[in-house]
Amino acid sequence: MSEAQESNYLENGHGFKSWFYTVDHKRIGVMYLWAIGVFFVLAAIASFLVRAEHLTPGQTIVSADTYNVLFTLHGAMMVFLFIVPGVAASFGNFLIPLMIGAKDVIFPKLNLYSFWLYLAGAAIFLIALAAPADTGWTFYTPYSIETGANVILITFGVFVLGFSSILTGINFIVTMHKLRAPGMTWDRLPLFCWAAYATSLLQVLATPVVGITLLLLIGERYFGLGFFDPAKGGDPVMFQHFFWFYSHPAVYIMILPAMGIISEIMPVFSRKPIFGYKAIAYSSLAIALISFLVWGHHMFVSGQSKLINIIFSVITYAVAVPTAIKVFNWLWTMYKGSIELSTAMLYSLAFIFLFTIGGLTGLFLGALAADVHLHDTYFVVAHMHYVMIGGTVFGFFAALHFWYPKMWGRMFDEFKAKIAFVLIFIGFNVVFFPQFIMGTLGMPRRYFNYAPEFQTFHQISTYGTWIIGVGFILMLWVLMRPLPGKAEGNPYDSLSLEWSMDSPPGTFNFDEIPTVTEPVYNYGTKIEAEE
């Protein structure tokens, strides 16, 4: 250990300033983790209140207007403050330089500024809580132009957050282009990096469109520009085009990093090379490109033309195939492996299963005729949550557990963590599975009041939130109380670079930039020769 490395990154400097002004990518990653954690909890509380409201038809605990505010806050905070910046900014920051063998990201200061921008956007959101919007996270016009609620503040917050994610994306892309260690060729790049690369591309190229859209929305409210207001000759469907041009790729901004995480965890706990490395790597990139072509499938009944509906439906099914391929690749990675069911592995397996359900229910929605019936019902709500929670959040939790030793230098109580997992897994399905049935039966979403025949479904769903809530608390409690003793540098015998150093890593990651000589995930004996 060299002198510069005598303390790890957590101990190198204490106090507020040593964190707030740090340019260390690991500390910035950890700060993102805390920040998104806080907003995850806030947004989750909003969702628990939404569900509690649905215990009975009509008013249970809050009024209709408060309910509208609650689901808006839940959606907007989850999307813009947790899930979009979430995994990419926290684990991306922490892991990318470690994985590619670099001392830091290429623009360390810019990285810090992005984090400050995130905080600024978050602060605007918090101020907006005093007079929150009631438009839903989609800000559809003309409602968002006409409502008396304060829409400007929250949209401006989203705009600022968008800047933060653009800058982070640029930083990651250039880092992966310019700072890979010698020998770290693109086909040796860990799949998490591939996923982060694709995510960053989407962030950089899609976010500006939602930026201008929200700026114009603010302009609508201040000046009455009229682009999106039918009363002034504008077209509300155009707003939806612009909005989904960003927000559909944003779905992949949310899910791709989680896919990357799963691709990291499966080989380690199966002691097998990932099955179909190239297929997964290239399909990440393919998804990043094709996902720009399918936004219209959110608008099949919004008044889009029939022709464009058909075009979007075709392309939608084209994106479905690479996703299916990935699922089977992950599964087959376990074939003839030596599988350890650690907590991280459990979350990964749950990801595969739940994401499969999420993906399959997408097939219903992509079919034009079926979407006419299912659009804007609870079926869509359930589908989206199976992808976003069953996918992204489970992947995020898997990462929390998997890189826990690396990040904090300690181990956690696996047994209790597994109990938390079981609660979250069961709770999640209890919340959202009934919503598929409810939606098919015609229960519209964003409904404060509902017909009595849906009450049983709503109640089951609400009880599920209590189970998942207990699971969250238990998980947090387990992670907050690490076991005594220091974690090993490489507790799982992993082969990727981030495990080749002490846990937690020193401030400068590597004493010496390593030279990479073999493919990533080079597990297993070479019983079957390659090609």
């Binding site: 340019v23 260390d24 290429i106 653009i166 250039v174 880092t175 950089v204 500006p208 401030t507």
Partner: protein, 220 residues
């Protein structure tokens, strides 16, 4: 004394907002990468940023395309009310400022610091003239009772030129900071990345205007 120093501090921070940010220590230079990587990385990053800027304006171009096709008469009428002479003058000014920035970028690589200073000054002055022209154009429109929201053409006109104007101001600020650092002898032929990427940003401002000018002023 106290009041005086606070006032100067506030004024200074308005002039140079970057000074509000405390200097960030870069851990004994350990985070520096080799100069070639940094230079190429910065350029690549800037091009990516320009891509986002292009797509930001992309929303406005899309709105233009749609509403022009939907309301051709409105666009005809609106376009003919704009001052082509003022628009052309602004175009010439902006293209000229693009040239001066390009010359500045070339000059710094040859260590001709004096030339860099002159060129950056000229660029900033051009930008200021552009802004003044726009000011007259706007006030003339306001005087005739035309505001954003008057009709969709004027909404696009004000939104597009307004956001472009914002970029002109940002560009002026960027060039101003660069110029100040040139005076502090921060740049040389071995260290000119900042001027080069600042220049790229200014060219983008020009690029956007190259499209806005004919679309708004000429095609009527």
């Amino acid at each position: 004394m106290g009041l005086y120093s606070i006032t100067t501090k506030i004024l200074k921070s308005i002039a140079y907002p970057s000074e509000l940010v405390p200097s960030i220590e870069e851990d004994d230079g350990h985070h520096h990468f080799d100069p070639v990587t940094e230079h190429e990385g910065a350029k690549l990053g800037m091009w990516l940023f320009l891509a986002t800027e292009l797509l930001l304006f992309g929303g406005l171009f899309a709105a233009y395309a749609i509403y022009r096709a939907k309301y051709p008469e409105m666009f005809m009428l609106g376009s003919s009310s704009l001052d082509v002479v003022l628009g052309s003058v602004n175009t010439v000014i902006l293209i000229f400022s693009s040239l001066t920035v390009a010359v500045a970028v070339k000059a710094i690589q040859e260590n001709r610091i004096q030339l860099v200073k002159v060129m950056l000054w000229v660029t900033i002055i051009c930008a200021a003239i552009f802004a003044v022209n726009k000011y007259f154009e706007y006030t003339y429109k306001f005087g005739k009772g035309i505001y954003p929201g008057t009709d969709i053409f004027y909404s696009i006109y004000f939104a597009a030129t307004g956001i472009h104007m914002l970029h002109v101001f940002i560009g002026m600020a960027v060039l101003g900071v660069l110029l100040r650092k040139v005076y502090q002898n921060k740049y040389s032929k071995d260290n000119f990345t900042a001027i080069e990427i600042g220049g790229l940003y200014w060219h983008l401002v020009d690029l956007i205007w190259i499209y806005l000018f004919p679309l708004l002023y000429l095609v009527g």
